[in-house]
Structure formats: structure tokens, C-alpha cells
């Protein structure tokens, strides 16, 4: 494991984040459960900036999970939507803010830019198409 979620949030870039919508603002509290105690992190989002502090104040959205779950998220090892569906995350409040966490925490490491596949194909090292399952919209058996 690379960093813990606590380390990740401590070192969070305080600068402008152009990938956040300028019209979105709100507060999130992350409750890290474990070892008989809960740590609270408080994210204030607004004007394309994110500020991370330690506070147990009430927030627009409260997300709680095991500390290790947050650690996996901080390393791009856990998909937020899957964690919500599998009930690894519990949420209370304005669920719209949850999607912002997907931009605050990193994506999976080693992800490729689509152009890598395009360049490889053109260079003659054609990417394989594979014949496994498909995720078409109207999936039929």
C-alpha cells in the first residue's frame, strides 16, 4: 500500500482544481472507523478548491467506512460506486457530493490513455479485440 487516506488528505493540493465544476459547493465529512475510534476528516469544496481539515462538525454529506476502505480509495484501489453498492461505504446526506470524491481521490494506477491503444494499433501492434463478455446496453444471455 502506498499512502494512507489520512496522509493523502494531509497532502491534498490546496490549489485550484479545474476538473471540479465551478458551480459545485458543499461540505463532506469522512468518518474513518477502526481501532475502537473514529477519525473525522472534513472537506470543504467550493470555487474549484478543496480544503481538508479535521473536524467532527455536521456536513452536507457524511461518508463512513473502515479506515482501510478509505486507504484503498486513496490508492485508486477501490471504486467508489462499487463500494457504495456493496455497502462498504455508508452515506448520509446529499449524495450528489459523493461523485466529487471520485475526482478528489486518484483513479487506478496504470490506467492507459485511449490514445496509447490507438497509437499501438497504427504502429501495427494492433490491440486485440478479445471475445470475452461484453457490456452492451441491452445485455442479453
Amino acid at each position: 500500500m502506498g499512502v494512507t487516506a489520512a496522509q493523502y488528505l494531509q497532502q491534498l493540493d490546496a490549489g485550484r482544481r479545474p476538473d471540479l465544476p465551478e458551480t459545485t459547493a458543499g461540505t463532506l465529512r469522512l468518518d474513518f472507523r477502526g481501532d475502537g475510534c473514529t477519525d473525522h476528516w472534513y472537506l470543504t469544496i467550493g470555487d474549484q478548491h478543496v480544503r481538508a481539515t479535521r473536524s467532527a462538525d455536521d456536513a452536507d454529506l457524511v461518508v463512513s467506512a473502515e479506515r482501510t476502505t478509505f486507504d484503498r480509495m486513496a490508492n485508486g484501489e477501490l471504486h467508489l460506486a462499487q463500494a457504495l453498492l456493496s455497502n462498504e461505504l455508508a452515506v448520509r446526506g446529499d449524495l450528489r457530493l459523493l461523485t466529487l470524491l471520485r475526482r478528489i481521490f486518484p483513479g487506478p494506477s496504470g490506467a492507459r490513455h485511449p490514445r496509447e491503444l490507438g497509437r499501438a494499433a497504427v504502429a501495427g501492434r494492433a490491440g486485440s479485440s478479445g471475445r470475452a463478455g461484453s457490456t452492451g446496453r441491452g445485455e442479453r444471455p
Binding site: G110, P114, G118, A126, S134, G136
Partner: protein, 686 residues
């Protein structure tokens, strides 16, 4: 031959049973009670004195409510007229069935009424390859209750069945021993609540009450209001008004409220796509703009919220990309399929921008355009940064999730849909032609939004330059001068995939077709190789891959045809557009009921009847939407400034058409038309 299936729907909660109202496991069909992609009942069979019952008739009251009128015994037997049974079923966020037993005899009677109950908690995407799950069953006789529960780690799903009448409960169901006076009646309410763990627990009786109130009050009122808000159609042609109202009701049925939203958005359709599918939702909104415009802002906001933010191979996600599919089932929760948030679609992102602009043109809702500036800008940036895989300026796709990603990431999403005239599949990444049309349209529309609402004229100029260059390049690289049509796609090396396909009709809709080539395209679309008599085939006859029962290699899709007819009218091919509209109206009215997503591509002159494909779902939001869009195209509805322009092109034999109270930035406006063959009078517009 499979027996008729009966459904009740409330967004992504739905039940499919046989004509008796019974549910029995079918390994290949999604029969059962489903919610949020999970089956909560896989067995639900009613018997009386140990005997199965048989339907005499049925009243499909609304999309969410059905009554079955039944008697004991198989249809071939003597029907015992002394007892009859009514099952009155409805669905909301839970499921409810009132069972009434009537004794018609002059003697008292005793019966044993039993409902067998079970659930396999299958994820709907597993149907066809079902697996066993350990289901815990809790019998609670004191509360007249049976609880079925499935758990995997913290993931849990629970079905609770409760009866209002006293009942014997066992692990396989509930048994009622009833005594009826002469002419007497007995009834019970079976309430089935569906629990997704993680939600706040709710008292079941409160759920029961709120469900009955919801169905009796809110849902009926909601449907009445929905139909009321839509324009009123007066049509001389018999049956068209009913088909129109049926399509509106189908669209009402296929709305659901995502967890993070306060508004309802269209889902794909029954049975396989009862989930948010970006493409289907956007196309449906575009189709229904003149009729049910409230779908568009809800869809735009939802898709903006779920817009891609990261590079993620598993989910084929890139920053700015618009969602392909969102599911809540077990396979999504545990990452066995990438569908918790799946982005494998190359068309949804440009179409998102097209929808935002189109919605503003109709509604005048400038605030929404400003609110969604950031996601729209990210979508426009996606086209060049992530959509263009080989750097030649065309939008392409190639899945990075080779285990479960979509092979073809365009509307023709079956694995073998993209082939050349000799049936050969091109290499990846593929640039299908309609994607280029969408990208062109998105840039032009994005330019208008940037200039008029975002105060960014320099960006608007840039987008317009890029759009013009794309159109030039496209007309050079995709045009096949010998065949006089556009190629279906380019392979990664820039070689055309030379098949003749319906995709060229989308090019007219997007406006990327050079004026001097439009006529050749239009003639192909209504020529005998593409046009079946009912509509335009996905893939033309006379090519190696053509298959009349292949969904994307010969089948006829109403949704595809609606965009094509609109495209033909953009280029003033009114006669051709009217032919297609007439064919699809005939198709819908001949079949009756909800418009199917696809029919076979056989020649109409051969089959005389639209041949349905077993895999074709209905209702489907973009098929019901297609019917509305074709009406709008027939009337030639178009917003110009603050007014609604009406410029009809009515198919022969349709007579008079009136569409009253069309909502938009003009308030409400009416459109009147008359087919020109029927009368010497000119159509008039108001």
C-alpha cells in the same frame, strides 16, 4: 411457443409473470419481481385446493397495475363456475397483490388457498447463466410474515412478504384455509417489500400504507398529470391517437429516480435495460422534446453528475466522458462486471452537448446552460483529447476492459454489428461514421452555447473552425464515390469499411452531409436495399453480413428511423421522410401495444406483418419516443427564436392532424396539418 408474459412497471422496479399472474423460474427469461437489477421473487404461484388457476381475462389498468380474473383448472377442462379469483397487482417501490376469492354457489364452501414463494436473488444480467445462492428464510407466523434474505459480506437484499389476513406461514409460502358463505367473498393483501441494505430501515406497515396511497393517489395522479401536460393529438387516421397516448404512458412507466437525484430520468426498457443507459436516455430526450420536455433537464443534470473524472481501464472511463450504463446489481457491486459506472460509449459524450443545446432552443432555459457549462466544456474537450484515438481527427473507440467492456461502443452495440460489405470486421479502434456526425453537431452547438451563454466568443470561433474542418475531412475520407454513399466506418489505418448501413441517415440528422451528396444518401435510405417497407434496415440487403433477424445487421429499429426521418427533413427530402414515418406508424399500429425496439428486416411485401424478434424488448423508451419524434417530424416542428415553426409533410392517407398545446419557450402553441393527397387545401400553421 412461449406463453404470453405480463408486466407491471414503476421505473426500475418491475414484475414479469405469466398470463395467470404466476412467476416460475425460466433459466433464459427475466421472469420475476425485480428492483434495482436484483430479482426479489423468482417464484410466486397461486393454487386453490392444490390446483393451478387459469385466467379468463385481464385488465391492464395502467402500466403499474393489472387485474387477473381467474378460475381453478386448466383451460382445456370444464370450468368450475362456483368459485372465481381476482388477483389485483400493483408495483411502486414495492409490490402488492390483493387476492379476492368469490363463492358463487348457493352453499357455503371451504377452500385452501396457497401462494408459493421463493427468491433466488439473481442479478438480472446473470439470467441465462444463473447460479445458486444461499438464501436465508425466516418464518414469522405471529406477524403473518415470510422473510427471504441474501447476504454477501456487507451486501444484503431482503424480500418481506406480509399478509393482512391470518395465514399459515412455512418456508415455501403461505396457506390460507378459508370458509366462504353462499355468495361470500374473502380477500387478503399480500405486501412485498424490497430492502436494499444500507437504506434506513422502515416500518413495514408504514411501507404498506404509503404504497397503497402511492398507487391509489400519487401514481394515478402522476400519470394523469403526465398525459395532461403532453400535447393533445387529434388525428383523422384511426388508432393513431391511442398509439400516441400509449407511447406517452410507456414513457411514464420507464422513468426512475437515481439515488442521487430528485428528478426522474428515462431508463432503457423492458426487460434487459431497466437501468440508466446514457445513450437511450439522451436519444429519448431528444425525441420527446416537443412532448415531454421535463425529461431533458433531469437527464442532463444526472449525466453531468456522473460524468467521468479519471482514466480507468476497467470502466472504460476518461475525464469528461458521459456514462454508458449504471447498474445496482451484485455483479456491479463486486466489480465482476464494470457496470457500477460504465463509460464504454463513444457517442454519449457529443450527444450530451447536442441535447443541452437542443433543450435550450426549445425551452429557453439559459440558466441550465450556464449551470452545466463545466460538464459541457469537459464533454467538448473529451472529443479531441480522448475520443480521437489515432490523432487523425476522428472519434473512435476501443475498449480497454477486454474482459467485460463493450466491443462496439456505438448504438449498434452487438459484438458483430460493424462489418464491411463482405462481412469482415475491421480492426480497432474503429471510427463509425455517425460518431463523426455527432462530434460535428456537438462542436457547432457548443459554439452557439459558448457565444450566447458562456461569453466565450474565441472558443466559439475555434469550435466552428474545427467543425468545418471535420466536415471537409469527413466528406473526403468517408465518401465512397463508386457506391455514392458514406462508409460505415474507418479502420485504424484510415481504410473505409464499405458497408451500406442505416448509419448514413444519422449523418443527415447531424448535418455533416455535403449538400450535393444528400440526395444520393436519401435515395439509398428509401431504396430497396435499405428500406423494408416498414422502415430503414440497419444493414442493407445484398451484403455478406446481412441477416434479417440480426438486430444490427438487418433489423429495423424505430429509434434509428426516427432520427433518419428527421435528418431527411433537415435536407428537405419531405417525401422520403414521410415514407419512413408512414412505415413506422404502420408497424406500431399493426402490432398494437408498445412499440418494439426492433423488428426483422424482411420485406414488408413478403411478410405483410411486422416480424418480431424474440430478443426485442418492449416497452423501450427510445422506441416509444421514436413515435413521438416521427409525429414531430411529420408536423415539421422546429423552434425558431421564440416561436414554434410548423412545416408539415404528412404521409398520404393520414388526413388531418392536430397537435395542441405544444410546450416551449413560446408558452403553448398548436400545430395543424393535412395530408396533401387528401385535399387541395394547403396546410396551415399557427
Amino acid at each position: 411457443m412461449r406463453q404470453e408474459l405480463v408486466h407491471v412497471i414503476a421505473g426500475n422496479v418491475f414484475a414479469i409473470s405469466d398470463a395467470q399472474g404466476d412467476i416460475e423460474l425460466d433459466p433464459h427469461a427475466p421472469v420475476g419481481l425485480f428492483a434495482f437489477d436484483t430479482r426479489f421473487l423468482s417464484h410466486w404461484v397461486l393454487t386453490i385446493d392444490g390446483e393451478r388457476i387459469n385466467a379468463l381475462s385481464r385488465d391492464d389498468m395502467t402500466y403499474f397495475e393489472t387485474r387477473f380474473f381467474l378460475v381453478p383448472g386448466a383451460a382445456s377442462h370444464y370450468v368450475d363456475a362456483d368459485v372465481s379469483i381476482i388477483r389485483h397487482r400493483s408495483v411502486h417501490d414495492c409490490f402488492h397483490e390483493k387476492i379476492t376469492v368469490l363463492n358463487h354457489a348457493s352453499q357455503p364452501a371451504e377452500f385452501t388457498v396457497r401462494m408459493e414463494m421463493a427468491s433466488d436473488f439473481a442479478d438480472i444480467v446473470e439470467v441465462g447463466q444463473l447460479r445458486e445462492r444461499a438464501v436465508q428464510i425466516a418464518v414469522d407466523p405471529a406477524a403473518n410474515r415470510l422473510v427471504l434474505r441474501y447476504e454477501r459480506e456487507r451486501f444484503a437484499r431482503e424480500t418481506t412478504v406480509q399478509s393482512t389476513a391470518p395465514v399459515e406461514v412455512d418456508e415455501g409460502g403461505m396457506t390460507f384455509r378459508i370458509h366462504l358463505a353462499p355468495g361470500g367473498t374473502w380477500e387478503t393483501d399480500l405486501h412485498v417489500s424490497l430492502t436494499i441494505q444500507g437504506e434506513a430501515g422502515q416500518d413495514l406497515r408504514a411501507g404498506l400504507q404509503s404504497h397503497q396511497q402511492a398507487v391509489r393517489g400519487t401514481m394515478r395522479e402522476d400519470l394523469a398529470d403526465w398525459l395532461d401536460r403532453a400535447p393533445h393529438l387529434v388525428a383523422e387516421r384511426g388508432g393513431l391517437e391511442e398509439t400516441y397516448r400509449g407511447s406517452l404512458a410507456d414513457l411514464a412507466a420507464l422513468r426512475y429516480q437515481p439515488l442521487a437525484s430528485s428528478e426522474r430520468v428515462p431508463i432503457g426498457g423492458l426487460p434487459w435495460a431497466m437501468a440508466l443507459c446514457g445513450r437511450d436516455s439522451i436519444i429519448t430526450c431528444l425525441q420527446t422534446m416537443a412532448f415531454t420536455p421535463e425529461l431533458a433537464p433531469a437527464t442532463l443534470r444526472t449525466l453531468a453528475l456522473l460524468q467521468g473524472g479519471q482514466l480507468d481501464d476497467e470502466h472504460d472511463e476518461e475525464p469528461g466522458k458521459i456514462l454508458a450504463q449504471l447498474r445496482y446489481g451484485e455483479s456491479a457491486a463486486f466489480g465482476e462486471r464494470p457496470t457500477a459506472l460504465y463509460y464504454g460509449a463513444a457517442d454519449t459524450t457529443p450527444l450530451f452537448v447536442v441535447l443541452l443545446d437542443e433543450y435550450e432552443r426549445w425551452s429557453g432555459d439559459a440558466d441550465l446552460v450556464r449551470e452545466l457549462r463545466h460538464p459541457a466544456r469537459m464533454a467538448l474537450d473529451w472529443i479531441d483529447e480522448y475520443g480521437d484515438l489515432t490523432g487523425d481527427g476522428y472519434v473512435r473507440y476501443q475498449r480497454r476492459n477486454e474482459r467485460g467492456g463493450a466491443i462496439n461502443q456505438c448504438w449498434k452495440d452487438s459484438a458483430d454489428a460493424i462489418v464491411d460489405a463482405r462481412g469482415r470486421q475491421p480492426a480497432f479502434p474503429r471510427a463509425t461514421c455517425e460518431l463523426q456526425g455527432y462530434a460535428y453537431d456537438a462542436k457547432r452547438r457548443g459554439a452557439r452555447l459558448a457565444r450566447e451563454f458562456w461569453g466565450d466568443p474565441a472558443y466559439a470561433d475555434r469550435l466552428e473552425r474545427e467543425a468545418a474542418a471535420l466536415k471537409d475531412r469527413f466528406n473526403r475520407d468517408f465518401w465512397l464515390p463508386q457506391q455514392e454513399h458514406y462508409a460505415l466506418a474507418l479502420d485504424p489505418y484510415g481504410e473505409p469499411v464499405d458497408a451500406l448501413s442505416s448509419n448514413i441517415g444519422h449523418l443527415l440528422w447531424s448535418g455533416i452531409v455535403a449538400d450535393d451528396r444528400a440526395e444520393a444518401v436519401a435515395e439509398h435510405l428509401v431504396g430497396s436495399r435499405l428500406f423494408s417497407g416498414w422502415g430503414v434496415r440497419t444493414f442493407a440487403t445484398g451484403q455478406r453480413g446481412y441477416d434479417p433477424v440480426g438486430a444490427h445487421l438487418g433489423g429495423v429499429w424505430p429509434s434509428d428511423n426516427a432520427l433518419i426521418a428527421a435528418g431527411l427533413r433537415h435536407y428537405r427530402f419531405d417525401v422520403q421522410a414521410a415514407r419512413i414515418a408512414a412505415g413506422i406508424f404502420d408497424l406500431a399500429q399493426t402490432l398494437g401495444g408498445a412499440v418494439p425496439e426492433v423488428i426483422a428486416g424482411y420485406d414488408r411485401s413478403v411478410t405483410k406483418y411486422p416480424v418480431q424478434l424474440p430478443s426485442a424488448g418492449r416497452p423501450q423508451s427510445w422506441s416509444s419516443g421514436a413515435l413521438l419524434m416521427l409525429l414531430g417530424t411529420t408536423l415539421g416542428l422546429r423552434p425558431t427564436g421564440d416561436d414554434l415553426l410548423v412545416n408539415p409533410a404528412v404521409p398520404g392517407g393520414f388526413g388531418r392532424l392536430e397537435l395542441l398545446d405544444i410546450p416551449g419557450r413560446w408558452g403553448h402553441s398548436d400545430a395543424y396539418a393535412r395530408d396533401r393527397t387528401a385535399s387541395p387545401h394547403r396546410p396551415r400553421a399557427k
